[in-house]
């Protein structure tokens, strides 16, 4: 019974009415201290009675009965007070009667009545107090839920909202520590209202972001630890001196994107199910905010947030006259991993690369996943040179790390574009565009590299022009502005050997200029136009042959046509070629397709099947640019080719450089053993030619033998007396 809540003065009139003869009344608490006494003239007598009472404490009855003690000159009556029937005594009601008071039972009855009233009121007040406590708690919780904004559209709102969510959770709930942990282990924390900051907060956070986080992700439900010492799941959790609840945050697909945790001192009351429920509400709100602004796979912010930061950065750049740097990073060929393994593997790859990128960035740098396999980085107060440096470091570490999945190892690389944000930059669209363009240049130039955006770079001009190429090429196909050229492949060992000819492609542009393949093929490849171009070449070569040469001449040569990687993947190509060859009345044995290693690399097995299928019909194959690829010999073993074209880089030097010579010799030897014929490219002069003859190379091709010329000229040469139809 809490005496302070009871206004005992109000009971004095009742007591006097019931016991008019009494000298005085007093109430003591359970330890014998006087808590109240009626205004009686003889306070000292009360005091004496109380002292006597206390001396007889062992004699206090457990049940509420009246005890009597006779002190000098007075009779003291005591009645125990208790709140609930079974609780120990909360105190004692004391009535002082004159010494000669006799009617004990009447006094006892009166005292019972008063005691009952006091008990009832006390019970009632206790109830009220509990309800008040509950109400306060609910009030706080409700306010917390009202105040937490989760319907955020804009990035800055989201950041703010998350911060406030964490702060308010700490403020409104009775917690020592609140922590919001994200997938990338980034943590937002807040201390609660407790005057004493939670001891060990750092330690708790450390375990929270590791062991506890993993547990929550695994279980996909809340973890309540009121006594971590009893936890058997992990080695470190039992050592924590706190009570905690951790609730997972889910995205719309049910994947865990983070965790919200509250922790309290070990002396505070246990966390209950209702606390967990409230935390669930808060973590759902947090999840909603995060989803708008953060990518759930990598924990990085989304394009949304990135653009917000870029806007702010541009503003700073203009008014503070400092420069920032923007990177556009594109993961090369993720589809290879996705197709060979599964999209889970692809996801894991993206996650790892995200982590690798972050490793090279400072605290002030912003990184975002812009979507798919693209990332954006903003480095504040950073020169373009420094940006390039860091980009190079990122490129190198990603490439070095590679990716292993299910015991398979993949080469991984990124293409990175670097652009500076200067006071002259007009808008973020311009800067982002510049970084993207530079990244595309990096891709065009072979991937796994870093390119810096230079406003007037030739490279960039060409890149921009490349985009215009799709239009050009489509027009060229339609308007038949492609041209066929030819170059002899001379038999070196046997003067009477079958003549071979390689068919080459040129393009006449709108201004009448003749363009080399290097000027239009990269664009054609990039925009998937190669299959159409390859077919054009095959069809028109055959047409030329059919129209200009008698059958026996056609059959006396081998015509070599280049095929791109994109055609290798084309399932319908075989049927197409068969039709064309039949229509032109040319035998498959007279056609040789030249394919490069790089063309086959995307899917070696597919390439092998392609070559096999065509060979079964009699077509021949040459492996072009042999020696320059990374795994030349592996391809050689797999692809059943007939000719080996030794890359010009080796051939050029063989007259002067013994190393080149020995390389060519080695390749020739292999060809010999495998029963393949060898063709040397870039034969620029007689000296080289002679060396090749000595080394036993079967064929030679190059400016020193014959320069490429319009195919129609060759047609004329082969049949001077017949009319030719030009192309």
């Amino acid at each position: 019974m809490e005496f302070r809540d009871l206004d005992l003065d109000r009971y004095a009139p009742l007591m006097r009415r019931l016991m008019p003869d009494a000298i005085g009344f007093a109430v003591c608490d359970s330890v014998g201290l006087r808590r109240w006494s009626s205004s009686c003239s003889d306070l000292s007598k009360c005091a004496r009675a109380i002292t006597v009472l206390n001396e007889n404490r062992e004699g206090w009855p457990e049940t509420a009965t009246t005890m009597v003690c006779r002190a000098v000159g007075e009779a003291g009556f005591a009645h125990t007070l208790r709140v609930n029937g079974t609780d120990p005594a909360a105190g004692v009601l004391l009535v002082l009667m004159p010494a000669d008071a006799t009617d004990d039972s009447k006094i006892g009855d009166s005292m019972s009545i008063v005691a009952d009233c006091l008990s009832s009121e006390s019970e009632f007040l206790n109830e009220l107090d509990s309800m008040a406590a509950e109400l306060s708690e609910r009030y706080e919780e409700l306010n917390l839920i009202y105040i937490t904004e989760d319907n955020v559209k804009y990035f800055d709102e989201g950041q703010d909202a998350l911060r406030k969510l964490v702060q308010n959770t700490g403020r409104f709930l009775d917690t020592g520590l609140v922590a919001l942990v994200m997938t990338d282990r980034n943590v937002t924390t807040s201390q609660g209202n407790n005057a004493v900051p939670m001891a060990d907060a750092e330690r708790i956070l450390e375990v929270a972001t590791t062991d506890l986080y993993e547990r929550v992700v695994f279980m996909k439900e809340a973890v309540i630890l009121n006594d971590p010492a009893t936890d058997t799941g992990s080695p470190r959790l039992p050592k924590l001196k706190c009570k905690l609840i951790a609730d997972p945050m889910f995205d719309e697909n049910g994947a865990v994107i983070g965790m919200l945790m509250i922790a309290n001192d070990p002396d505070s009351p246990d966390f209950r199910a209702s606390d967990a429920k409230l935390l669930r509400v808060m973590s759902r709100k947090a999840a909603r905010i995060i989803q708008v602004n953060y990518d759930s796979l990598t924990g990085m912010m989304t394009r949304h947030g990135f653009e917000y930061h870029l806007e702010t950065a541009l503003y700073v750049v203009r008014y503070k006259r400092i420069g920032h740097c923007v990177l556009h990073i594109n993961l090369d060929r993720v589809h290879v991993v996705n197709d060979s393994c599964s999209h889970h593997a692809g996801d894991e790859l993206i996650r790892r690369v995200a982590a690798q990128i972050r490793e090279h960035l400072g605290d002030g740098d912003i990184v975002a996943r812009l979507g798919g396999d693209q990332f954006g980085v903003l480095m504040a107060d950073c020169s373009r040179e420094r940006g390039q440096e860091i980009a190079e470091r990122i490129r190198e570490s990603v490439n070095k790390a590679g990716f292993t999945w299910d015991k398979r190892r993949f080469d991984v690389s990124v293409s990175i574009g670097v652009a500076g944000m200067a006071p002259e930059s007009e808008s973020i669209v311009g800067v982002v565009g510049a970084a993207e363009v530079a990244c595309n240049v990096a891709k065009d130039n072979g991937r796994n590299r870093v390119e810096v955006y230079e406003r007037d770079s030739k490279m960039l001009m060409r890149r921009r022009e490349a985009a215009e190429w799709i239009g050009h090429l489509h027009n060229a196909l339609r308007e038949d502005r492609f041209l066929l050229y030819s170059q002899t492949i001379e038999p070196l060992q046997d003067q009477n050997g079958t003549p071979h000819t390689e068919i080459l492609l040129r393009l006449r542009n709108e201004h009448g200029q003749i363009l080399d393949p290097s000027e239009f093929l990269p664009a054609a490849e990039r925009y998937n136009l190669m299959p159409a171009i390859d077919r054009w070449v095959v069809r028109n070569t055959l047409k030329m042959l059919a129209a200009n040469l008698p059958r026996r001449v056609r059959a006396a040569n081998v015509w070599a046509i280049n095929l791109s990687g994109q055609s290798i993947g084309d399932g319908a190509f075989l049927e197409f070629v068969k039709r064309e060859v039949a229509q032109a009345d040319v035998l498959p044995e007279n056609i040789c397709f030249e394919i490069t290693e790089t063309a086959a690399v995307a899917d070696l097995e597919k390439a092998r099947r392609f070559v096999q299928a065509l060979k079964e019909h009699g077509f021949k194959f040459a492996l072009d640019d042999f020696g320059t690829g990374l795994s030349s010999f592996a391809y050689l073993k797999t692809l059943p080719v007939d000719y080996l074209k030794i890359d010009g880089a080796f051939v050029k030097e063989i007259a002067d450089d013994p190393v080149s010579e020995s390389m060519v010799a080695a390749i020739t030897q292999i060809g010999h053993v495998m029963g393949l014929e060898t063709i040397a490219e870039f034969v620029e002069n007689d000296e080289v030619r002679q060396c090749l003859v000595t080394l036993g190379v079967t064929f030679g091709q190059g400016f020193g033998i014959e320069r490429p010329r319009p195919m129609i000229e060759l047609m004329c040469d082969l049949t001077p007396q017949l009319m030719v139809s030009g192309l």
Binding site: A133, L135, S136, E140, R171, L173, N193, A195
Partner: protein, 135 residues
Amino acid sequence: MKRVIVAEVEQYLARMLRLALVRSGYRVKTTTDGNAAWDMLTEEVPDALITAAALPGISGVELCRRVRRDLPHRDLPTIIMTGRAEEATRREAQNIDRVVVLDKPVSIRTLLAQLDNFFSADSMADTLVGEEHIR
């Protein structure tokens, strides 16, 4: 027992505050009107004042100013509760000594913690003064 005056128009909030304060051991007087609050303050200066920013009659901030101008208690610990739109109030209040501004909806816990802060600072100041005297 410390005495607190609560001036708040919203009844339920006044009730919740009274409940929490009483349970924490404070003696509470409440009013819904600014002028009545001023009368209470002049009659018996409390140990702390909790007031809404917006009150009929005299505003919460005005009450603060008057206390510091007219009453000997220049540094009466005060908590002003404002709605979200009242930026101006916040700015005004920031320059007054020993005033804390809390946003509505107010966290009772925060409010009680703030009162604790006020009073523990007081008691520290007292002990320091006491020590000086001894020396």
